[in-house]
């Protein structure tokens, strides 16, 4: 009897939690659903659909047609793609190399340098914004992608993750290769590099999201419309039109959000796992 009630209570509490989570999840999804709905609503550029409904009353591809018409969105995609791809390659490479050196290397100043690398995590973008702008200005690199790509060389968090990862790989691999007379670079590229799959995947995802969504720095560096990345293109569209062109704005937001959502749905297992395992937590 007692066991039965306990079982019952378990099911009831489970059900309550499930329902609360469904409601909470739905509330979080509502802005997305509404975005899509307004985007598909043809009349939304004249008057927003009111009362609001999650299914458009006059469904049409009209707004999406306009979003794609002038091709600016494709250009923004291409720009974001170039910047993100290069930043990811550079950031992941320097993290793997650096993490490996801090894990397996023995050299003067190792501890101090590692502390310096970790300290970079605490330094915000703002104190560096103006001098970096002036520096790239003097180098004639304003309105190029170099200022957005090169700073990816410093990835304190990536190095920290990689060091932890390499610490778990045995030293014996190195020692036997050393006896065979292999040089450090050969050891790294031939022996350790092929083992870095999981950590490299994690770094690729995290760097991708950071770089793709970056806003302040591109805003400062890029003034040329043809070079705008996706977030800049979105921001300039909102600032030109405010809330007057609802349907078009929401169609544009939908088009900009969908790729990263698809990427996320495919890779979410890695992202969640990596954040969970990365030491990005309290203890």
């Amino acid at each position: 009897m007692a066991a039965l009630t306990q079982k019952k209570r378990f099911y009831i509490s489970n059900l309550i939690k499930f329902v609360i989570l469904l409601i909470g999840g739905f509330l979080l999804m509502v802005p997305f659903i509404w975005m899509i709905s307004v985007g598909f609503s043809r009349s939304a550029n004249v008057t927003m659909p009111f009362p609001p409904s999650l299914i458009p009353k006059d469904p049409s591809w009209f707004n999406f047609g306009i979003v794609f018409e002038n091709g600016q969105i494709f250009r923004a995609y291409l720009n974001s793609g170039i910047v993100t791809f290069s930043s990811v390659v550079l950031g992941v490479a320097s993290s793997l190399l650096g993490g490996y050196a801090f894990s397996k290397g023995k050299f003067k100043g190792k501890r101090l340098l590692f502390i310096v690398v970790l300290a970079t995590l605490m330094i915000p973008m703002e104190p560096r914004l103006i001098p970096m702008y002036e520096m790239f200005n003097k180098l004639g690199m304003l309105n190029t992608f170099w200022p957005l790509i090169l700073p990816a060389m410093v990835n304190g968090f990536g190095i920290f993750l990689c060091k932890q990862y390499f610490d778990r790989l045995p030293d014996s691999l190195r020692e036997s290769a050393q006896i065979d007379g292999a040089k450090e670079f050969t050891i790294f590229f031939k022996i350790y590099f092929p083992l870095t799959g999981p950590i490299a995947a994690t770094l690729v995802i995290l760097t991708f999201i950071w770089s793709w969504n970056d806003f302040v720095w591109p805003l400062v560096i890029l003034n040329n419309q043809n070079l705008q990345t996706i977030p800049l293109y979105l921001a300039s569209f909102t600032q030109e039109n405010g809330t007057s062109l609802g349907g078009l704005t929401m169609a544009l937001a939908t088009v900009s959000v969908i790729p990263i959502i698809i990427l996320y749905l495919f890779l979410q297992r890695f992202i969640i796992q990596s954040i969970a395992l990365s030491g990005l937590k309290g203890e």
């Binding site: 499930f18 996320y264 969640i272």
Partner: protein, 303 residues
């Protein structure tokens, strides 16, 4: 310190060989060190220098602490500090407990766990700029989704972003929506790290699951809350993207959502007062530093 015992274990020959190859390791670190010099050390020192000069137009003239005096006596600056702290504080007061409660539920629910993880984390991967765009419509006073539902429920319908007195809360709402997924994921990771034996032992003692949550789960999560609080504050003090998209560099309406970074941007990149902006930057930098150290102290945490 740590390398000492290793050296002893090694035969003499290889220890010498390692010393000879030390420079190899600096090559591994070359990109990182070069990057730190160019994009960290130099800009920070240069920013300090700039903050001591008047820079308008093209020339630079020595200003001493004038820029700092201007910033520290500027009502607009302190208004931006107030906004930044106000938005950050309330966002955290809402998001951390709410996120923790959701995480606890996701952790204990027996079905659709992964589905909920995906749903709740989705806003966090969305670019904040796109999120801000969506929210200008969700929060629209007349045609927005939120006010429609508030009206249905017979609740007051604030003007949100159109009214300086509620604009901060509109930003807080957007922040909660965007940040809660991160809080949930971090909490979930740490909930799973709590030793199951603690729960088993207390079940034998007859504790209800709510008592377990209150007396085992929460005390074990203190470190996680501290982590969220510290990273939350560091993020909050650097807030810019969404307030810029919604309110521009001046944080309209009436500077009600201008954050410190927006103040810096306004003076640095729309007014080209680099010296003044640099001084404000340094004040912000010091605030972040003091605040982080203070947070580390009260949460008793080592980073």
């Amino acid at each position: 310190m740590r390398s000492k015992p290793n050296k002893k274990e090694m035969p003499n020959g290889s220890s010498k060989k390692l010393k000879g190859n030390q420079w190899m390791w600096y090559i591994f670190l070359l990109p990182t060190l070069l990057g730190i010099l160019c994009f960290m050390v130099y800009p920070i020192l240069e920013s300090l220098r700039l903050s001591l000069f008047h820079t308008s137009g093209g020339g630079e003239t020595w200003a001493g602490f004038d820029n700092y005096k201007t910033v520290l006596t500027s009502g607009e600056f302190w208004n931006s500090v107030y906004n930044t702290f106000y938005i950050g504080l309330f966002q955290m007061i809402i998001t951390i407990p709410l996120g923790f409660i959701f995480a606890s539920m996701i952790n204990s629910v027996t079905i659709a766990k992964n589905f909920f993880k995906v749903i709740f984390f989705l806003p966090n991967v969305t670019a904040i700029v796109a999120a801000a765009m969506i929210f200008t419509f969700v929060l629209h006073p007349d045609m927005g989704l939120l006010n429609y539902f508030l009206g249905k429920l017979g609740l007051p319908q604030p003007l949100w972003l159109a009214d300086p007195s509620t604009a901060k809360w509109a930003i807080i709402l957007l922040g909660v929506w965007h940040w809660i997924g991160f809080v949930i994921i971090i909490c979930l990771a740490n909930l799973q790290a709590i030793s199951p034996e603690l729960y088993e032992a207390s079940t034998i003692d007859g504790a209800s699951s709510f008592q377990q949550w209150l007396f085992i789960t929460i005390p074990n999560m203190v470190g996680t809350f501290a982590f969220l609080l510290i990273t939350g504050w560091i993020g909050a003090l650097q807030r810019f993207n969404d307030v810029y998209v919604i309110g521009g560099p001046t944080g309209s309406p009436n500077r009600s959502i201008q954050t410190v970074v927006a103040y810096i941007y306004e003076h640095g990149f729309t007014g080209f007062q680099f010296g003044l902006a640099s001084a404000a930057t340094y004040v912000l930098f010091v605030i972040i530093l003091i605040f982080t150290v203070f947070n580390l102290k009260i949460t008793n945490m080592k980073l």
